[in-house]
């Protein structure tokens, strides 16, 4: 139970993907203009992250290296294999959603093609196969269940920050901003305040 809570807290607050690790900034700055699209993007990223880790983690640990065969070790090809799995997964997911539920496709399907080249998805796949004891606590041993849980809650943390940012940007539309600060610069300065707020959790946990 302790590990369960530690993983959730680390994924959502202390090691939030946007504010602490700075993964997935492109959709964070690009798709956070209104709350509806931010929520759609966040949910799409969360789903893809969880499924991607559920596929890549076993592939990396049980298929790309077989302990009984000493010559079967292709773990150095992880980047190529992972990006291929993610790209085909996104394509498949898009086709399935379009077939099953057109209304869900209208709400979040348009964000799916953008996710292939999202740092957050490849980032979480790379993260869970590496050493995570620095993030969650010493003596932590990763397994399939923890990996998927971490990916799922990282996605939820991503969605949380996207929603906060979209709310702030909707308010920002009513403000007068200097000509050269308008657009990206003022969004980044706003984002910096969200980061400061999230820094506080590092001291609490």
């Amino acid at each position: 139970m302790g590990t369960f809570i530690a993983i959730i807290l680390a994924a959502v607050l202390t090691n939030n993907f946007i504010t602490v690790k700075t993964y997935g900034i492109c959709p964070f700055l690009g798709v956070s203009k209104n709350t509806k699209s931010a929520l759609g993007m966040g949910v799409a990223v969360t789903v893809v992250m969880a499924i991607a880790v559920a596929v890549t983690y076993p592939v990396y640990n049980y298929l790309m290296k077989i302990p009984s065969l000493s010559w079967w070790d292709f773990q150095f090809l992880e980047i190529i294999v992972f990006i291929f799995i993610i790209a085909s997964l996104v394509q498949m997911l898009e086709a399935i959603i379009r077939k099953l539920s057109p209304s869900l496709y209208n709400a979040m399907g348009i964000y799916l093609p953008l996710i292939t080249t999202n740092c957050a998805v490849l980032g979480v796949c790379e993260l869970v196969i590496g050493d995570m004891s620095g993030i969650i606590g010493s003596g932590f041993v990763m397994n399939f269940g923890w990996a998927v849980l971490y990916a799922l809650f990282s996605g939820i943390g991503f969605t949380l920050v996207m929603l906060i940012m979209s709310g702030l940007r909707e308010k920002l539309n009513c403000c007068k901003v200097g000509k050269s600060l308008a657009g990206f610069p003022i969004s980044m300065i706003t984002a910096s305040f969200i980061c400061m707020a999230f820094m506080v959790f590092t001291y609490i946990v």
């Binding site: 900034i25 492109c26 080249t117 610069p185 980044m188």
Partner: protein
């Protein structure tokens, strides 16, 4: 004329289409690494190598790769290059390999590389693509290094890891400080570039007006000749 073309590509990559300040691409490694100038510069130089090679390869294969599967093909080329770069760096420059951390693998999904492949390399010759990759990469490196120097100095009072002043503002060693520095840098860059462009436009406007005046004077001078020409025509 030829030199001029490559000069234009290089200036576009370095300044007018600077990937960091003008296009705002590749933001994840930028924000993650500018708290240290040396890792920012290392990231920039890695991207220069990978971007130049991927532009050359994609441009060389642009007639072979079918249009429908071009994006997966580009991603495979880029992923192979990143895997190679990662192995070389792990073997020969382990310090830089450690300081880049997860961002080294994430070069695969860096929008700059795929963006240049899609926007430039699949329409231009190998040499032009190489120049474009080199200059865009150097524009990225320059932007990252400048922000890295500012951010590292404010965050820890040091420059490329060497301590020069005994002060530090802890905020600038975190992503919050990186966001502020990046935002203000974009604002400053667009302001300076806007001012220069406006100044040049005013100058060229003045120049063209002078030309017009000169042209007017010429027209007046040649005005008496016109009736003469008409007379000749009548005579014919």
């Amino acid at each position: 004329m030829m030199k001029n073309k490559y000069g234009k590509i290089a200036m576009d990559g370095l300044i007018f289409n600077n990937p960091t300040f003008m296009l705002v691409l590749g933001t994840c490694p930028t924000l993650g690494l500018i708290s240290s100038a040396s890792s920012a510069a290392g990231m920039g130089l890695t991207v220069v190598v990978i971007l130049t090679l991927s532009n050359i390869l994609i441009s060389a294969f642009r007639k072979i790769i079918p249009n429908e599967v071009r994006i997966p093909a580009y991603i495979v080329i880029i992923a192979t290059l990143v895997t190679l770069a990662r192995m070389v760096m792990q073997k020969f420059i382990p310090d830089l390999y450690d300081s880049l951390g997860g961002f080294l693998a994430l070069i695969v999904v860096n929008c700059i590389i795929l963006g240049r492949a899609e926007a430039f390399a699949n329409k231009h010759t190998v040499l032009e693509s190489a120049v474009d990759g080199l200059s865009t990469g150097l524009g990225f490196t320059a932007a990252l290094t400048i922000m890295g120097v500012v951010c590292e100095f404010l965050g820890s009072g040091s420059l490329f890891g060497a301590k020069i002043m005994d002060f530090s503002i802890g905020l600038f060693a975190t992503p919050a400080g990186s966001f502020i520095i990046y935002g203000l840098s974009i604002a400053l860059f667009t302001y300076v570039l806007g001012t220069i462009t406006r100044y040049r436009r005013v100058k060229s406007l003045k120049l063209s007006r002078e030309n017009l005046l000169d042209g007017g004077a010429l027209a007046e001078a040649s005005a008496p000749a016109a009736p003469a020409a008409a007379e000749i025509k009548e005579a014919e």
